[in-house]
């Protein structure tokens, strides 16, 4: 059950998208999001969607994965759809039933919003699908580097992310073990009702927290033994390198962005 959780899942590969510099990929994702919010009509949205689908095709990530990434946001999609469908008023009435009226404008905006969210999530997922966690944390550290001047602990943040990613599978496994141990002692973990459910979590969370603190203590000691002393003077095994392809990709995405802006003025 807990094994299904896939945070920042990464599919190793050797496509052009995989090989792009992670720093650029983060910027591309931000640009893609900006693009989707700039598009004011279906044509603009369509251009962005086609572009994202093309990226998936190039990356070699199976289209099935798009559906998988959308699964958790289905409730959000339904909620957005219903809200827009029933609460936006227009002139042309499409259907009427009891006190509900659906207007053409409402239907249009609902569809527009749903497509926008779907493309947004699919686009963002491509980033984690094609970049390893370490590349991503390195890229975040590099991109936030200017904040160091403001005394923002950029290196520490990246290190914390790296350690968190390393320990997520361990802690999931441990939670499974604790749950089994507590069940063996007669804990009722499948209790019904919100308060009972919350109470059932206590015998799982307390041992998990204690063990996490113990692990943190030992990890800190092991890091000290290996001469860890913060980001100052640290080198990296894999340096992020950008090449002509990265700038070419940047050019391409800016072109698509431009197309969408022009499209907004034309239609």
């Amino acid at each position: 059950m807990l094994k299904d959780i896939t945070i920042g899942q990464y599919f190793p590969g050797d496509s052009i998208i995989h090989r792009l510099d992670a720093r650029f990929k983060i910027i591309f994702s931000i640009l893609a999001a900006a693009m989707l919010f700039t598009a004011q009509n279906f044509i603009g949205l369509g251009i962005a969607a086609v572009f994202i689908v093309m990226c998936y095709a190039v990356s070699g990530i199976r289209f099935r994965m798009i559906l998988k990434s959308l699964k958790p946001i289905i409730p959000l999609l339904i909620f957005t759809g219903i809200l827009n469908l029933f609460f936006i008023k227009g002139e042309e009435v499409l259907a009427e039933w009891w006190i509900f009226k659906i207007y053409a404008d409402g239907a249009r905006i609902a569809a527009f919003m749903i497509i926008r969210i779907i493309t947004l999530i699919t686009g963002m997922s491509l980033l984690t699908y094609t970049s390893s966690p370490i590349m991503l944390t390195d890229a975040i550290e590099a991109l936030l580097a200017p904040l160091k001047k403001l005394r923002f602990p950029v290196h520490e943040l990246a290190m914390m992310m790296m350690i968190a990613l390393r320990f997520i599978p361990l802690l999931i496994e441990e939670t499974d073990k604790i749950m089994m141990a507590q069940k063996a002692r007669g804990a009722n973990l499948d209790a019904k009702g919100l308060i009972k459910k919350a109470k059932a979590l206590i015998p799982i969370l307390i041992p998990l927290f204690i063990s996490a603190f113990k692990r943190a203590n030992e990890l800190a000691m092991a890091m000290e033994c290996r001469c860890y002393r913060g980001g100052e003077g640290r080198t990296r095994l894999k340096k992020l390198t950008c090449s002509a392809i990265d700038f070419l990709a940047l050019g391409l995405i800016l072109c698509v962005f431009g197309l969408i802006i022009v499209n907004n003025f034309v239609f």
Partner: protein, 283 residues
Amino acid sequence: MDIIKTENLDFDYEILDDKGQVSECNPALRGVNLTVQKGEFLAVLGHNGSGKSTLAKHLNGILLPTRGKVFVNNIDVSDDSKIYEIRQTVGMVFQNPDNQIVAAIVEEDVAFALENLGVPPLEIRERIDEAMKLVDIYKYHKHAPHRLSGGQKQRVAIAGVIAMRPQCIVLDEPTAMLDPKGRKEVMKTIKMLNGMGVTVVLITHYMEEAAQARRVVVMDKGEIIMDGTPREIFAEVEKLKAVGLDVPQVTELAYELRKAGVDLPADILNEEECVKELVKLLQ
């Protein structure tokens, strides 16, 4: 030439009350004088709470002595300016392999120490490949650590330490959480490293592992009570039992047989020796 030397080392675990005053003082080490020669394979034996892990943590400045001194290559470990030099000289491997692996990919973790030391990337590549091949985990270099077995994970941790090219490795019960197969793999790696000239200090409570060392030190209640070759140590069965330790099974067998009047030497350490002596007797 000695690489590690402790002089009258005392260490107290102090428990502070709300006002920051010492309310309780638990002595963990008392007057420990230990020298470790370069290239030596030393095992430190002791039951739980004998102070052996506390001693290990003094050997590279993770803990600093309450009283007394610890020297690594004649450098005082309480010298703050030399601490990274000391930690590079004396590497440390802990019991739980999961809690000492930092990165989510094997090779990244092996590189961690070198990254901290500011080694240029090309040299890091060279040194981690060498370290991973040495402990025989190179074929897993792109794997996630949590997919490996206990023995493999512990060897990743060892690789992460030897990538620093330390002169000495201190291992604090490195096999305690492993299955018999993983234990064998790790012991083989440790012996191989010692064969290459790396000084090894192995903290353990497995007698069979201690029997493989060249010198054994026995600790009890924070003090060193015995110091000698495995033969000398394990010959004193009663003294070991008095501090809650066992002897290797064959040594115990020989001891019981001697008590029953069979004429066997007192210092039998492994099965082959025991068989040889018994055959000699029966002929």
